[in-house]
Symmetry: C2
């Protein structure tokens, strides 16, 4: 269906995706959603660990389906010499290699970038790891929660007096997958001019640090260590959450004009000239008074009504959507197709999260389910390397594919 945001923007790009679980597969997913041919390289017999991660539908992992839709799957056992030889034979048929092993693992197998660029000088080698391929912590294992903790996101998310807080979703992984995608696309653009490939080395921790926005600059300019401030943001006020009778709502008021709208809606135009609220800076200094003022007014009103009153007058406001509301929202699902139904012969109709990339001229198509483990091994070894059935049977028997 034309409206489902699978595009042909990257048709022609060939990607060998050795990554597991989330960060790397999210990169491969975006490329596949945009039409690249993404071939997942998995361990024979077991495959990506995330094939066994919940949530399950008909016994199959929807986490795996989510991050691996639109891809192919081949299996090669890289712990065998023969397997590594096949890997080197097949690699030159791809533009891009993605891996998320601990730094040094590829080198130990003789498959590091320095080895591979000799047999494929145009290779774009995209690596994602917890701490990156250089530096004193490079050998430490990196999981999302460690990226969020060491990269500063947890120390700045949460409530005054409360615990450091990770985001519900695996944000360090997501940010790293996005950065990996940018890195390899940029290197691919460069290659089209020079013919030469490159390696890009993305770290979870770096990705989180880069996402800290202006918080480090507060530390550098004031010497004060940014703390957890709940839903406040040090650039404007009222730009926060507030409690209505039934639920929490958001006001995002970034300037004087919008604050005047807030006072009007509250029926408190008597405060228009109050020196405590004259500028954004003075409002930030008196944020507790403003919060109290708004919450007293809101205490006998429904959040949805409040949001309507504010937005009707032009002040940005919203309620906090839970996943159920998002999953049925006419804009998010109906128009933007951020959830899509994808058919799988084994699982039936799955609900996966859709692509963010809406192009005007990018032709669109259907999502396809993630592949069975090794579903495309024979096809690729036959088509790319001219292996015959006898050879393929022997490789299978020897547990190499």
């Amino acid at each position: 269906m034309a409206d489902k945001n699978v595009s042909t923007i990257l048709t022609g790009l060939k990607v060998l995706d050795m990554t597991r679980v989330i960060a790397g597969p999210y990169c491969g997913m975006m490329l596949a959603d945009m039409g690249a041919e993404v071939v997942k390289l998995e361990v024979p017999g077991r495959g990506d660990d995330s094939r066994y991660y919940p949530p399950f539908q008909k016994g199959e992992s929807l986490l795996y389906q989510l991050f691996n839709r639109n891809k192919k799957s081949i299996t090669i056992n890289l712990k065998t010499e023969k397997g590594r030889a096949i890997f080197k034979e097949i690699l030159p048929h791809f533009d891009i290699l993605l891996e998320n092993f601990r730094p040094g693992v590829m080198e130990k197998m003789g498959l590091g970038y320095k080895d591979l660029e000799k047999i494929h000088p145009g290779l774009i080698y995209g690596a994602v790891s917890g701490f990156g391929h250089t530096g004193p912590y490079s050998q430490l294992p990196g999981y999302d929660i460690i990226g969020q903790a060491v990269g500063g996101l947890m120390s700045t998310t949460g409530w005054p007096g409360g615990e450091p807080t990770r985001t519900g979703p695996a944000m360090a992984d997501i940010l790293s997958g996005l950065n990996l995608t940018i890195g390899i696309l940029s290197a691919y653009i460069r290659r089209q001019q020079t013919g030469r490939g490159d390696k890009v080395d993305i770290a979870l921790v770096d990705s989180v640090v880069s996402a800290l926005d202006f918080l480090p600059q507060w530390y550098f300019t004031t010497g004060k260590v940014p703390e957890r401030k709940g839903n406040m943001y040090d650039a404007a006020y009222p730009y926060d959450t507030f409690k209505a009778e039934d639920q929490t709502f958001v006001i995002a008021c970034g300037n004087d004009k919008l604050f005047h709208i807030v006072l009007n809606v509250l029926g408190r135009t008597d405060l228009l000239d109050d020196p405590r609220f004259q500028t954004n800076e003075s409002r930030l200094n008196h944020h507790d008074i403003i919060k109290q003022l708004i919450e007293e007014w809101a205490s006998d009103k429904k959040a949805d009504d409040i949001v309507r009153m504010l937005t009707d007058h032009g002040c940005p406001a919203c309620v906090v959507f839970d996943i159920e509301r998002i999953a049925h929202d006419p804009h998010i699902v109906g128009d933007r197709h951020m959830f899509v139904e994808v058919e799988s012969p084994k699982i039936g109709t799955m609900h996966l999260t859709g692509s963010v990339f809406k192009f005007t001229n990018g032709h669109t198509g259907e999502y396809t389910a993630a592949p069975e483990l090794g579903e495309n091994t024979q096809e690729y070894l036959k088509n790319l390397l001219n292996y015959d059935d006898t050879k393929l049977k022997q490789l299978e028997k020897d547990h190499i594919i």
Copy 2:
């Protein structure tokens, strides 16, 4: 300096960046860090609102400096017919246009994608907005906190029984800037084959929904609405924060082998065969007992010592770094250069956040400070459009540039 991660990967790419504040400028920043020529188009006299946002150093905004380093600045008043004519004259000299106006604003000025592709068929038009350029909510204003609230991040971040929680940094803006970058680089790759440009329409809300990881799939498979779970993650346990005597620490234990290490370090090998802890799933079901076990053991120990004991035995663990610790860390700063010193004639030495993109073959160079408002207007109008001094003086006098 060669180690500071400014590269020449995208040298040759020409970007006209009309975006303001964070989401769009973060995209332009990444492109400029990788060597693209990024020219910021600002309003004469005032410029990007974020020039007036804290934190300040010598009266100048470091938020502006952070997201606009390595760029140029030109000013054109698009509210005048003459200004719009100059815009149309200069546009074909650029590959990419970035804008983050409310949907429809560019069209009202006669500068929508449909207008611009007529005069520049190869144009890559990158738009970022709160809700996107289509759908019933497209006219609602989008700020980061609204993206986080409507996109589901706030409802799934925070503590059981507590309030929905936004991340400290403006994560919806950051995610959107990353997606915008991926969209325009992909369209650029496509253009190199077809000669034809494209428009990519990125929404804050879409970007947050796409970053929800597997949480929506839990809803779709179980019908249960994902709630705030503090630092737990529904894929593994113990994968959480714990309190030591002095501060919070993280254990990221994703499988049975690592859990055996945890029990060994705790001196509780008597629990190795306890059926409550045999599988990851049973550990998730008994997470409260495991948390209590670990925190009782940790209550008289320092977090740094605990982390050393665990990591020495091969179990991923860390403390939660605050911004001060990150700012002086030998790996994050010393090796990965995630904070860099940038010189500005007006401000002196600034500490900005460095680029995540570490290439092997990408030549590296120095960061340069963000431009003064309109610093490069005359240079660009002279070089690209052959305007002479008389004409430029008149345009200045008429407040058009």
